[in-house]
Symmetry: C2
Subunit: 339 residues, 2 copies
């Protein structure tokens, strides 16, 4: 039985680091959670819509912890020009994030129609930028669309973008459904998906009345959760770690109308070791968290090594006012060396 793992620092290719005071609290936990490189989401207030904003945000993050590599993204919006895409590529911005309007935290500026972005996508394809997609359509009750099928209903849009831009690398973020897993597999080598730690465990039962497990996309049926577990178990190289770690303070969760998001950053690798062991594929963790993502993003391997050991610890009830995933529960793995 494995009771010790050594692997390089992980790549978390989808994380919310927030801004201002919350940013200062969150950023130091990236490394504590076992990650050395993160793809930073741009849904701030105001949203990160320009290269200048992204670079300013990056410098703020570096001022807090300069040992982390921050991969920056822009927020796809109607004001984003082809020229800005060229500048983004020159400045080392990695991706452009698309949010459908109104489906999650700070997505009020999200998009309603993808075709108007085709010129931008064409330039992104040329500049080798990645399109990061929050793949849900907004609820529309006359079309029977709600949070439970919003991801599946989005897949036609994903397919259409891919067919028009077959060389554009697309990441369907935080997939939650069997349908999405199948579609990403089917679309071939330029289309990948991130999977969060929590979606490997949760189902709709876990967020019914339990707001700390409420996130967007919502966790779905057990069969969907099982499909996510299967795809990591089979070590499919286009499915890799993006935690979607998204801190909201307790008062924003334990309230009448909760914010969407699960906070996993501080214990990300211990959560994953625990989950991968429980689903019988601990040997697949390394590639999921340190290889498949960087290969899709064409990034070098990280050199620093961390050690995870089979040591029980309890998840704290709170970090700086934020209740983490599985608060108060036991984890079987712990990072014991993080050089």
């Amino acid at each position: 039985m494995t009771d010790k793992l050594q692997l390089s620092l992980a790549d978390d290719l989808h994380v919310h680091l927030r801004q201002d005071e919350l940013m200062k609290e969150v950023v130091p936990y990236i490394r504590k959670g076992g990650c050395g490189r993160v793809l930073v989401m741009p849904n701030l207030k105001p949203a990160i819509c320009t290269v200048a904003q992204a670079l300013e945000y990056k410098s703020q993050l570096q001022a807090i912890d300069n040992s982390i590599e921050y991969l920056m993204t822009l927020y796809l919006n109607p004001a984003l020009t082809i020229d800005e895409i060229k500048k983004a590529a020159e400045a080392g911005i990695v991706g452009v994030k698309s949010y459908p309007r109104g489906v999650t935290t700070n997505s009020e500026q999200g998009i309603e129609d993808y075709e108007i972005y085709f010129p931008v996508f064409a330039e992104m394809e040329k500049q080798n930028l990645i399109l990061n997609i929050h793949g849900e359509v907004p609820s529309n009750h006359s079309q029977n669309i709600c949070v439970m099928n919003a991801e599946e209903k989005f897949l036609v849009h994903l397919e259409k973008i891919h067919k028009n831009f077959p060389k554009l690398r697309i990441v369907l973020e935080h997939v939650t459904t069997e349908a999405a897993v199948q579609k990403v597999k089917e679309l071939g080598k330029t289309v990948a998906a991130t999977i969060t730690a929590h979606h490997l465990e949760l189902t709709v039962d876990d967020w019914a009345g339990q707001n700390h497990n409420f996130c967007k996309p919502v966790a779905k049926y057990p069969s969907d959760r099982n499909a996510l577990q299967r795809v990591v178990r089979e070590a499919h190289p286009r499915f890799f770690l993006g935690s979607d770690s998204a801190p909201h303070t307790r008062n924003m969760k334990e309230t009448a109308c909760a914010c969407a998001g699960v906070f996993t950053a501080p214990l990300l690798m211990p959560y994953l070791a625990d989950i991968f062991e429980s689903i019988g594929c601990l040997d697949k963790l390394k590639d999921f968290a340190t290889r498949f993502g960087r290969e899709f993003y064409s990034l070098p391997e990280q050199t620093e090594i961390i050690t995870l050991e089979k040591v029980q610890e309890f998840v704290p009830s709170e970090y700086f006012g934020v209740v983490p995933y599985r608060a108060g529960q036991k984890l079987n793995w712990k990072i014991t060396a993080n050089v």
Copy 2:
């Protein structure tokens, strides 16, 4: 345009009146909400398992408001004997409520297998008692059963009980799915269903992160909600009012792990007038709330008349620490006379 409705006091054939202090707060609101007769749920602590307990509970309720007719139920459990069913019939107990184990508030003593109750059901059929069923199977992830399909997966059990006891009157409580509506229609005249006010409006989108709308069974897809609206619009006589009004104090809702239940009792008829008008069937409200239920239960018509008028008022933010349904929102109907 109708701007005034006169109808007899309504029959709410599914309500939670609680016990002790909360009971004393809740009961006076039955009549304020426009109801004169209620079927009282037995899931107290301890559960109402005997005729003696039911009669004691009834006398407590009468001591608070003697103008309401309380139809009492027993909690189906392994200790319930055929002799107790006979006594229940003699004592005027109306129904026996079945809870699947663990699916809702105080259902830990709920049942796991219906066949062991067949002798009890046979006696109930003989004594003309009604079987009131919370129709959900417990979540079972290896069988892909979760809160979203727990009602649909229950329908085979409903059908089996009905086939074995075709004369036993069964009420499938608080139906939430198109599948349940169809099954109840199909099973014929001894099988009926209650519908709550809130399930005529809510979908899964409304309880995602919003615990005040979280109840069991959970609200489902828009297509399911539409099926409920359709069946009241067509005035099907075996679908009638059971509010499932279930007060939980704010601190039990705005918390990490919320209790299930929506509190509608204080404004039940105004909510319904508002909803029925919005779905274009205000003319069907009277039969839904005052006729179909009593006919299925073989009860006389209530004689006291209430008046609802099209007068806007806002739902209070709270009653005695409990946040009501649609708190703070506008209602278009108000009870202006309640003799």
